[in-house]
Amino acid sequence: MTEKQSVRLEKIDEYRWLIPREGGMRTEGMVYADERMMGAIKQDQSLQQVRNVACLPGIVGYSLAMPDIHWGYGFPIGGVAAFDEAEGVVSPGGVGYDINCGVRLMGSGLERTEIQGKIKGIVDTLLVNIPSGVGSHRKDLRLDKGQQRKVLQKGAQWAVDQGYGRWEDLEHIEEKGRISNADPDLVSPRALERGRAQLGTLGSGNHFVEVGYVAEVYDEGAARGLGLAKDQVTVIVHTGSRGLGHQVCDDSIRVMLQAAQHYGIELPDKQLCCAPLGSKEGQEYLAAMACAANFAFANRQIITHWVRETFEQVLHMGPSTHRLDLIYDVCHNIAKMETHAVEGKERRLCVHRKGATRAFPPHHPDVPAVYQEIGQPVLIPGDMGRCSYVLVGTQGAYEETFGSTCHGAGRVMSRHQAKKSARGRRVTQELEAKGIYVRAASMGTIAEEIPEAYKDVSDVVDVVHGAGIGKKVVQLKPMGVIKG
């Protein structure tokens, strides 16, 4: 293992830490965390990774890290960095393998007490209806090559076109569920092959579907605007672009390793390999990444449809009664061309968010019409035993972090440590005693995903709320969870 290097930090205020410019850094780093979290963050190599990102050409503003920062590969997880359209780069390592991994939230017309006695039936049926774990898929969803191309071009729009969900869902998805510059010809045959049987699958690891309820309301007005009220039943879906996205990233890294050499870009870590935004390699990556992002949007849309069907089967009620309406869908592994004001001047930037969520303020044109007055909904899932949060984007985030905030709890234990800590325990029974019914395709997943393997998401959210780069609206608590 590479030796941990100590990274110099200057505490700015209760929530902000500056990493001064040293060595090959082209800008400073800025980390959002409180004192206690910083103690834990220093234990791994993520701060070094913030510094590494600051070394990349054309970076604008700080190399940023959200409070859920942890050691990733290349960029830290929880990292945000913006690059100038003309002088900057795009890096597949700044997006990650699971391109457009993201979260969506549905509200409902149901109260917690109405489904409490039926939660086992709902969870067990979700596990039947939604393929989870390695290698499973539904026999009734088979894509031929032509259809797969359409998925990559049209994303969630394709899914709705095929009868998965409703047209109004699209208004409530980041980018309306479709990134427009997608070019399927730039996706390798191997990536297509890996993706073909994986559309409409949850995958393994930290991906999940969670049925929960609104436990706390912090901002009545915003909650009302989102259509959320105390004790209302909610559903969260967390998954991404599956093998297709992993392969697009893998293919692109190989190209970018050559490209970085070709363009004379010095890399502090191979995983940060990149190409100028204006180069053929850079543009082709963005067009292939868009395909994977669209695949992920379609994936979450299809799963949403099966969640609705599950409620209909188990509760014997129709859509007008369960009203599982989509509140919003966010990407948390993505790079996007956006316009931001930098020192009073508008600039086109490629904003990389790796384990970070877009958090646009009220009145931003990319915020859906219905949320114009409250800001973009931001969905922050926690571990399966504690809670999750709904926030809204703020002007503070727009000015300080290119409209970005945290994405989740962030791991504190390796999967290996988590398994060790779970050994001999009955984790599912422990959770059931707390009123949370959990089922997984593989028992190993439950051990790896024990609640204490994660930071307390409440601490993470308190930092972004305190720093003004996100505003707490409601807290959600789990009742039933399916894992991959």
């Binding site: 390695v134 392969q247 050559q258 191979k270």
Partner: protein, 137 residues
């Protein structure tokens, strides 16, 4: 010759060592499949020839492991034994031996998304070769 799993917060790191580079590639492949399944339950019923290109040993190691991961994920094959027939700075050729995944017999322990280049390292020290690789899981 052998391998160990090392702690890494979000992902999984392996360290592999061997007397020569061929052995290093073979052991790294075994480590990959030991993470995915229980190797004792995999027996040799078939073999696949694997050939990958790259530039330098480190990139070749990622390419070799990624190819095996692909054969598992898309073709449903689990391997327990590997024999390298050729390795130079640009090419690796070898044979992977194992059987088709059988849900009833093969427990799947961990899904691996990708083989990363992060902190990838192959070095020779005191006459023995050592590699470290991080898997994204």
């Amino acid at each position: 010759m052998g391998y160990e799993l090392l702690d890494h917060t979000a992902d999984l790191m392996i360290r592999v060592w061997s007397a020569d580079v061929k052995g290093l590639f073979q052991e790294a492949a075994r480590a990959l499949f030991a993470i995915i399944t229980d190797l004792e339950k995999v027996t040799v019923h078939l073999s696949r020839e694997v050939a990958v290109q790259g530039s330098g040993r480190e990139e070749l190691l990622v390419a070799w492991l990624s190819e095996l991961l692909y054969l598992y994920e898309v073709k449903g094959l689990l391997f327990c034994d590997f024999a390298l027939t050729e390795i130079n700075e640009k090419n690796v050729k070898g044979v992977a031996m194992g059987e088709a995944f059988d849900e009833g017999r093969h427990p799947i322990k961990t899904g691996i998304k990708a083989v990363t280049y992060h902190q990838l390292e192959i070095k020779e020290q005191d006459g023995r070769w050592q590699a470290q690789v991080i898997f994204d899981i």
